[in-house]
């Protein structure tokens, strides 16, 4: 995952900070057992480490630390207006982990969180209980991998499997697992469930190489998506965010060709299409952290506290992909975030 690390940085998860209250939690023990050489530092509250001022996220990404904590307060959140709802009325997301092992330059997490270290909340049972409480009133569409990439963390924490087990017991719950990870092991052992949606973020290889550091290649993502579809899992392809770069049309065309070669589009659950957009406040934080990143220094258009590509460019990019897919799949399977 981080095998290209320059050797002067401490290794990934060299230090694990553990909230004292969860030191003896079974999940804590299970996770710590995977890092026998890590230095364990007990802490009072995860924010003592995670929310320190003036942290340098760019450098921390070279040597991410793990923080094990208990989630308190709100456990499930209603989806933000810029999130695609896929026609679901009761659309929620949850953060059972915060931050990501991947290092995408445009990721909103870099604007939202003050640290690049990864927090894993070990009290998953409390989040399950909250989901069950909501399910008593109505059905629930829950994104469980929004503020992290759970599938990328799966070998370390096993949360995707736990969520799948939970979903298998609750018919009115649908979960979405969003990822840029291509774990062939997971695909080989995945049990298909109608209410567990695997959502792959798909980008042109040029975008992956330029901005989505440490993530799986386009070919590997598509191969895993195809594998899960073949196994009978609902799979969504997310062309969201579409990222502008010089020559974008050619890059996205090449990506489309590769998608159509690898994926049986008739078997796809649906697709989402949306160009990059972000809260103005997050963008400000990101620009402070990443003074050399072209993707976030784009001269965006600002509307109602959100930054996005100029209207004409946004329309052109989204229509380009929508048009391509319209010829292959029904319109009802194409979700554009701003339409």
């Amino acid at each position: 995952m981080k095998n290209l690390k320059k050797d002067y940085f401490n290794p990934f998860f060299s230090h694990i900070y553990v909230e004292k209250s969860v030191r003896n939690h079974a999940r804590t023990q299970k996770i710590l057992a995977k890092f026998p050489s890590a230095r364990i530092i007990e802490i009072g509250h995860y924010k003592d480490v995670f929310c320190r001022s003036r942290q340098n996220l760019r450098l921390q990404h070279h040597s991410q630390k793990l923080i094990l904590a208990a989630r308190q307060g709100t456990l499930l959140y209603e989806g933000a207006p810029v999130c695609q709802r896929f026609g679901n009325e009761h659309f929620y997301y949850t953060s059972c982990a915060m931050n990501c092992v991947f290092d995408c330059e445009y990721c909103y997490l870099k604007g939202m969180y003050p640290s690049a270290n990864i927090v894993v909340f070990v009290n998953l049972e409390d989040i399950f209980a909250e989901a069950e409480r909501i399910l008593e009133h109505h059905s629930l569409y829950l994104c469980v991998s929004y503020d992290t990439d759970l599938l990328a963390l799966e070998p370390l924490i096993g949360y995707v499997q736990e969520w799948c087990d939970f979903a298998s017991r609750h018919d009115h719950l649908t979960i979405e697992i969003r990822t840029k990870c291509a774990s062939k092991t997971f695909v080989q052992h995945a049990t298909p469930l109608p209410n567990v949606i695997y959502a792959y973020t798909i980008s042109p290889q040029a975008v992956i190489e330029a901005f989505e550091h440490h993530t799986a290649s386009l070919a590997d993502r598509l191969s895993c998506a195809a594998g899960l579809m073949h196994a009978g899992c609902p799979v969504r392809l997310c062309f969201d965010p579409m990222i502008y770069m010089p020559g974008w049309k050619q890059h996205y065309q090449e990506m489309m060709d590769q998608v159509l070669c690898t994926i049986d589009v008739d078997k796809m659950l649906d697709i989402s299409i949306g160009t990059f957009r972000i809260s103005q406040d997050y963008l400000k934080n990101m620009r402070k952290q990443e003074p050399d990143s072209a993707v976030i220094w784009f001269p965006f258009q600002k509307d109602d506290g959100y930054c996005h590509y100029p209207d004409s460019l946004m329309e052109e990019m989204e229509c380009f992909l929508t048009g391509q897919f319209s010829e292959k799949i029904g319109r009802e399977k194409i979700f554009r975030w701003n339409v």
Binding site: N10, H15, E42, R54, L59, Q60
Partner: protein, 290 residues
Amino acid sequence: MVYIFTALYCEAQIFIRQFNLTKNLENTWFQEFQNEEAHIRLTVTGVGEIAAAAAVSSICSMYRPSQTDLLLNVGICAHTDKKDGIFLCNEIIEQATGKTFYPDMLYRHNFCEGTIVTGMLPWNSKKDTSNDLHHAKTDTHVGNLHDMEAAAVYQAGIHFFAPHQMNFLKIVSDNGNAAAVSREQAALLMETCQDSILDYITRIAALTQKNASRKSEPSVDEEQLFETFCADLHCSRAMRDSMKQYIRYLALSGMDYTGMIRELYEKKLLPCKDKKEGKQRFEEFKKRLF
């Protein structure tokens, strides 16, 4: 620049000698030594939290450290169990308040790591209460370091440095009987550790410098071209800011924006005769980009 803070002169001697530091006679508040060429500025803070915080604040307010700089708090300390060793602190507890601070541990090193408790008085193993504090926090006993400055240096330093820029290196001198450690013994102890400390400073300073440097700072020529371009477009303040944003994006994307601007001059589209024409040219320039 590496900002070194020691409590005592005897802890500073190895750096003064090794880096040929000279006393800054203009600073009459603290003993300050520097070598601009070696990028080292050392301050002897005096003993205790208040003295340390005052010195860090004073020096940092005066010199305004940047992202490429480094803070190093180095000196002798007590240890509950061990009799010697150099420790890099990954956790700093202020005894008086129970507050805990965590420097970032980004880089590899050859030292032991440990928790340090900063107290108002030298730690006395016979009258120990500080360990109770750490036990209460952790329920473990792995042994603690004890000093009188680290927590204060962190708290004052965090106003000027990021957590990864602050390093706390402590050399164990005793097991809770500080009075028995003479200045000569302290200086000798520092001397025995000097090679590994100096090696660490040199390495970490170079890394901090390297990792903080921007890849794409505009050159003087590029900045001059930008100024001329804006002037010839009769840019308002808002237009200038907007243009700066475009230029920054083009530069980061590796696009030849200087060529684009020069082309406008070659085609005699610049300079513009007035603001109106400048605005029109600016819109054309933007349209060409995307």
